[in-house]
Symmetry: D2
Subunit: 341 residues, 4 copies
């Protein structure tokens, strides 16, 4: 059985493990004050072209989302998200557990537009009987594989600025977004057109770890207290910083994501060639083909993947995910199985 269920089925890219071994017995300060943290942050600030940025390393996406959002909101404020957004659909009420409402917007492509935002604001005009929207949460790539263009992100950010909203981007799969064939964003553009974002490590070759970036340093003051309070401050911060040091000291991060995307696009092309359609227009490492149930059943003998959504009595959409570690031979096998289905 080969696993196309997710992009975290394997451990870490071998160069990360090498670095862990190489540095293992060098004494370092705890709690993120290690030398590797300093070095990794310095490299990241260059990559995003923002020397003012404040960066912290955290362990996972839900942890990062709940920390950033609960830290930036006051008690009566809320966050706006697409209904498919990770904080709405997949995090066990983590945001609500910190006291804040997630206002959801139905979308076809998992992305928010300025119009979505202003509609929500109109619906929340009757102060003080409703929450006050304050953060706009987006994901890039989204939970259904789509990506934001530079123009889209800039327009959304301008809207947020006008409405005194903060724009926060969940980059659990940011590498996959930035290496998609139709992408025109860069790390620097992300840093320019968001207030806070995070660069996901876990789903792109790290053992664990997400790097949260406050583009405006004043937003980050005292964030270290919050990290400790929510149980996210690792005693051995080196575990996290070494992931990012390795992934970003050259272009490894983008190379790994590009590889994952390429394999997904190979699979997508075969599926399209075979005449099947897709639930979403993904150009990244998650694809959602709509397949006959008989084909799905046959594929499930050799491959693991999620059945995403029932379409009708004959068809269902499935989710296939590739990663930095996906075996090319298995992709070729899968393509052959599709073509012969």
């Amino acid at each position: 059985m080969y696993n196309f269920k997710n992009d975290y089925s394997e451990g870490a890219h071998p160069r990360i493990l090498d670095k862990l071994i190489e540095t293992n017995l060098i004494q370092q300060l705890g709690y993120g004050e290690d030398d590797y943290s300093k070095e990794a942050k310095s490299i990241l600030k260059k990559k995003i072209a923002n020397q003012q940025a404040v960066i912290h390393f955290l362990s996972g996406g839900t942890q990062t989302n709940l920390l950033v959002i609960s830290f930036l909101l006051r008690i009566h404020e809320a966050v706006i998200s697409a209904k498919t957004g990770h904080i709405s659909a997949n995090e066990t009420g983590a945001i609500e557990a910190t006291g804040h409402k997630v206002i959801t917007v139905e979308t076809s492509d998992g992305k928010l537009t300025p119009n979505d935002v202003t509609t929500v604001l109109k619906e929340h005009a009757l102060a003080p009987h409703v929450v006050k929207p304050r953060i706009v949460y987006i994901s890039n790539s989204t939970e259904i594989g789509t990506i934001y263009s530079l123009a889209e992100l800039e327009a959304l950010y301008v809207c947020c600025q006008q409405q005194q909203l903060l724009l926060y981007l969940d980059g659990a799969r940011l590498g996959h977004a930035l290496t998609a064939e139709n992408n025109d964003l860069t790390f620097a553009a992300i840093a320019k057109y968001t207030d806070v974002f995070y660069i996901g490590g876990t789903k792109n070759g790290a053992l664990l770890g997400e790097a949260v970036v406050f583009n405006r340093p004043e937003l980050a003051v005292d964030f270290d207290y919050a990290i400790k309070q929510k149980g996210a401050l690792l005693a051995k911060g080196r575990v996290l910083s070494i992931q990012f040091l390795t992934l970003f000291q050259d272009d490894l991060y983008l190379e790994l994501a590009l590889r994952a995307n390429s394999l997904a696009m190979r699979m997508a092309k075969a599926i399209k060639d075979k005449g099947y359609s897709f639930l979403t227009e993904s150009t990244t490492n998650q694809i959602f083909p709509i397949l006959p149930k008989s084909v799905i059943e046959a594929l499930l003998i050799n491959y693991q993947f999620y059945i995403w959504k029932d379409i009708d009595s004959d068809y269902a959409a499935v989710r296939l995910i590739t990663s930095w570690a996906t075996d090319e031979k298995q992709v070729t096998n899968f393509i052959n199985d599709i073509l012969n289905s």
Copy 2:
């Protein structure tokens, strides 16, 4: 400069890194459903002699404490802790941030007794104007290096049972407690005389990780939701389970702790021989000698450690910590420096 500040200055025991490399590219299910989790839990249940136990792997001590306590308490309930307890003194209000008061008790040795507990209950009799105590939180070894005896733990547990309180033991340094020269507790006794406890990995050779054990399975129902909600569910759960699999498949965990204790006791003996006294009667890897300030100043040239408490104009107490990774030569150097001081 050699670091005696803490027991997490280095990475992981090399065998853990070996195991990470060995298993790195084997596909596993995410979110703690990996094979190594199953194996590690199975081994741990044997060690604690409780096949009914429910075990989860988490990343750090504060995370574990806030998860266990917020999960077990209802909104009006509170936790009792020694004032020196980690949840009271070192966790940035993590418990209060989940909505619960930490009722603190002044102690001389960092340990709670049945009398402490019943006194707190008497002081919280005026329902509903006060919180309702429900959990008793203890640490073993404590934050000041002392340990519980079997008789003490059993008496405390009996008291908790009589008063319908839950007993939760923070085992961030449980290995050091169980290998102290004056210890008469075992893993099995800990499991028998607490409701929930955790076995600390971070401070005893793991890269990160704590194993929380619910001795009564009914207390653990739905705990997985809480793990996810608080951002503590790692996508690559293997990172955590491999730590415990390696530390517990033989006696490595206890061996590492014993080594740390032995080095600390060597230092303690030299300090005592030199005629200095101690703030607490530690038999574990944290010692708190009271030294002349001139001696402290001289030692700080070559060694890093915390100045714990000002005693008078001439003396201060310092904290010295050893670990599985402490360099024996540095211990010898330190002892010589003390003896020549």
Copy 3:
């Protein structure tokens, strides 16, 4: 300008004020231990035909909702509500502020059905990545004037029982529901087919106050702690108990509601006679006629009311509310203004 905006524009029914004066200087115990509380609770238990019920008096609807829901839910659990439900639409994220997600369901009539509930359960099957639904929240009458029938409530309760869900009914306007012309529910039926409900005083003649009823006493254990903790325990509990003692020692509560309904139905009949339609099929004291904007503009000269929803360029729905204190002459005037419009 006459106010049809709400049912809390005036003070209290005069008999309540009389009773406050009559009892004013009689010393009573504080915090809900007064004699009037005991008497009012005794009367209410008879009205609802449940001697086992546990009853508390609180100050307002949002306070009652957040108290009941936060008290009954564990940290990972959530409440299901119609999107129009008060906890979803009008309470400034009060439930989320206590840490819990409100799962919303789109409805046409503001009511939940067993099918709605089971659909939500299906959508929340992927534990532990989603919250666990535990309470079903309904309002009767609803926020848009509709009511539940006995058959509907019973079916919903049976569904909840089967799914191990609690059914909680918000009775801010329960009197108006029970005196609607198409109603077949009673206090006793409400008590039988819900786990917890509250009887609204504020919107039906009380100066303030809601009576929350736990039909199963085991659910109410320790609720007094929660009342105090959330700032809802009035020192002079007599203020609340005297409201309910007066409203329920005979049939005043239902009489007042019936009066409000009758006046609303008179207005509704005239509006229908004139040929206008309605947004919802209300039989209670809130009606939502769809009127030409020119008519609305003319009416707003003499009357205050909310413009509820824009329908098209010519029409909008408005909300008209009557109460126990509504001036009949003003109703007649309004009807004439409608008929002459």
Copy 4:
């Protein structure tokens, strides 16, 4: 049995009830937008000599404390209180339930000094492992009957300003403080030397109600959202505003408090004359005499009061409270019983 247990055993001052009746059927806007709120706020701003102040009316002390503190603190911040402070000792963890630690200070007289504050700051220097103190909470009069002098309050405020702390004064019994024989504070001085304070109604003649005053308007922005969210926004805000309109349109508030103090001082004088000592040096309406247990037993036949603290085998301290409504004859009786004891 006559009740000296508290100052809320009776209803409201008759002039408040008169005003409720007089205004009862006048239609008013809901949620604190009524004319009486405007008028009462205008009067209060004059009394405190601060036209910039923002004032809101709430129902009770715990509600006010939790609202103000949770609104002003960010997630990692904490409040400092005397151990006897109401938020520490009597509110069922209400502050912790909003996510914040209450840092307590042992005091002999229930009051905080600049030295107390700077000591707490020193003990919370190890960021980010401890909470960040941000609010200093004091009560005047205190929970044990003592009061702050002008010099003490000013010194504390200057300290808070220097340390970037907010000073919040709980005035549940502010009237009693301001009419104590040794008082030199005024409403204007309170407004000048605190950031936020509240004027208690419930314990000084109101049916219910506390007036919270933000002396610096920028601190109050959006506070109305918080009021609604925590269930504290009464639909009929007139219930609260009429209390304060009546108490403050002339000097009724201070007159009522002065009366309560005078009666308590009469009792205190007799107790002192008889040769008994006191637990605290109260000059307000709560006194804490230390009496022989045999005397206490005899008094409990005719009077209700709290036994506050066991002193030794023969003596205990009791708490006696008088109010605006206390019967002078009962005070005389009590005095005679003491003198004859």
